[in-house]
Amino acid sequence: MGGYGDVQMIDENGKRVDGRGPGDLRDITIETDVVPVADGSCRMTWGTNEVIVAVYGPMECHPRKLQRQDRAVLDVAYNMAPFSTTDRMRPGFNRRSREISKVTKDALESVVLLELYPRSKIRISIEVLSAEAGTRCVGLTAASVALADAGVPMTDMVVSVASGKINDVVVCDLNKEEDNYGEADLPMGILPNSGQLVFLQMDGDLSQEEFNQAWQYNMDAAQTIHNFMVDSLKGGEA
């Protein structure tokens, strides 16, 4: 990755370019009910990432050929706004957004109780307003909050977080520089109540020990993020 292996991104005390330690997360805020016309919605900021997710449905599935007689279908659209990155993002779908839409859909399909709504469709729009690194994780996490806000029945909420490797050190939650010039990236989708995985990707190489360390960082971070999600849905109520 990157090809800038000599860039110093972590010092001998384990301090990273933005002052975090190896296991620290960036700042996270979650707000629900931000799109009044949608059935459920969520705005999530994660570092300087910002994502809005709106959920519509369950509703009649159009086009009809996509209907399933035994369950609902999810229609997930991940999109980055043209102004979300420093290079202007060309509007519309591309290879990357298609891939992220698909993995997000697959992850959510394993928690949403689709069989309760045969022939229906649930539309999930993930809009990235500001992208730093790890937008697929932010999108997936925010989508589960928005689904919960919409009252869609789920067995659990998906928490997604990534860890990676920079200068041969495993760290949690990569930022922009670490993602671009680091050596590896391991995004995971975790069900916080059972510790099961619904989504796992890896970019770059990790040894067995490094993989285990990254896994552990993600598992721990998932609990922290899950608390934020629960807080936002309960609105401060116990």
Partner: protein, 236 residues
Amino acid sequence: MNSRPVARLDSMSKKNGAGGPRDRGRAQSLVVPGQDLGESEGQEVGHGVIVMEGRLRATKNGRIRNQGSTVSIEPLHTRYIPRPGDLAIGYIEGCTNNIWFVELGAPFNAILPMSLGPGKVEFGGTRSVMDVGEAILCRVQEVEETHSSVVTMKGMGLRKIRSGVIEEIDPHLLGRLIGKGGESLKRLKEDAECRVIVADNGRMWIDGDLDGILEVRRQLDLMTVESRPIPVGGGH
């Protein structure tokens, strides 16, 4: 692999201090999807609750209700699910030679066969009687398990809506709108001097002069805002 799941169902309940729905003082508390609700033994499963690995688990965001041994969740947000006999306001979404397709704000559309339509209709003349986009007051006749459903317009007061406006609220707020024995709704009608017909799918037909319609809208907005447990713009 030396990884371990950080939270198991059993450790979660300890951490959150939620000894299950039998805990006193937590009967009204808010839950989120995936939340553990304690042992399933001796408990009946109600709306929004499932059993996983011998424990109760919430599947919706809402308030816990314990009625007898039944644990259920009263969701904060719901979508209308048609039931036979419901009065509904629908929009015509399409038609064939002898069938109209009606959108009820539900997860699936209903059909209105020509034989159940308003009055006599010539074969192929469905569109000249009720065109796409028009609103109708109808009654749900049947809903099958596969979610194919039929509505009818044969019955007292069922008709095409030609005047007034249609407003929408979340179906779970209907109880609050109507009040005990229809008390609140009656007051609303008297205050606004309007005809208000509330359908079970959360839509209502308001007919009257402009001031009256605006008054009803104001009251509805008030109620919708009040019902929101989470203030808009909250965060951390």
